[in-house]
Symmetry: C2
């Protein structure tokens, strides 16, 4: 199938699919006219990557997961290790954002938000 159909099936923009080919995630065939020709397996892999990306995995992690996915002799432990590492990163990111949110929410609440210039938000940002 052509790139447009794969894009529709996977929900990925055609541009993104070309990019994934550029970086070697997939290697679709080419037709005589220069068009990419995607096999079902290619579409399948792209769908896999799309889901992994939606879970926040980076491209390199997707590459690793894809490799494990296609390796019949994999150990689930290897997959789990990748997922667990990623999970830990997400949890750290959440913690950082929550700290920001708490500070910000507090500041927003304490600001009058009127036409006067006095503002605890700016006071907090100002050093010393």
């Amino acid at each position: 199938m052509n790139i447009g159909e794969v894009a529709e099936r996977t929900g990925l923009p055609a541009k993104t699919i070309r990019y994934y080919e550029d970086i070697g995630l997939i290697r679709p065939e080419r037709r005589a006219n220069g068009y990419r020709s995607f096999s079902d397996a290619d579409a399948h892999k792209l769908g896999f990557v799309a889901r992994a990306r939606a879970l926040g995995f980076g491209i390199d992690e997707c590459r690793t997961l894809l490799g494990l996915y296609e390796d019949e002799g994999r150990s689930s432990a290897d997959v789990k290790a990748v997922a667990r590492t990623h999970l830990a990163q997400i949890e750290e990111k959440i913690a950082q954002l929550q700290a920001m949110r708490d500070t910000l929410a507090h500041l927003v609440e304490s600001c009058a938000g009127d036409e006067r210039p006095d503002c605890p938000i700016l006071q907090d940002l100002a050093p010393d």
Copy 2:
């Protein structure tokens, strides 16, 4: 003072400070030898930006906040609006990450993590 001292005072890397000059956040003087000469006000502004960045504000938001900070005739409402918008973005991001985390945590838990190839994580990522 020189860039090194400002870097130490603000906790910002010298590279970052030069970058902030590049994009017009600050405009330090220059000495005859070409070195940047930072005033206390410059250092103060950089500290302000450092804190705003630590709260997750983007560079453009920092620019806006810096403008409000230096505008004696500002309304706190304007500051509050910037902060509230940013707060909403953070909360959305947190929600996204929490959704990822929940899915991932579930998957990680359900994966045996042994030497066998069967893996619910890969099954979940695989389309259809």
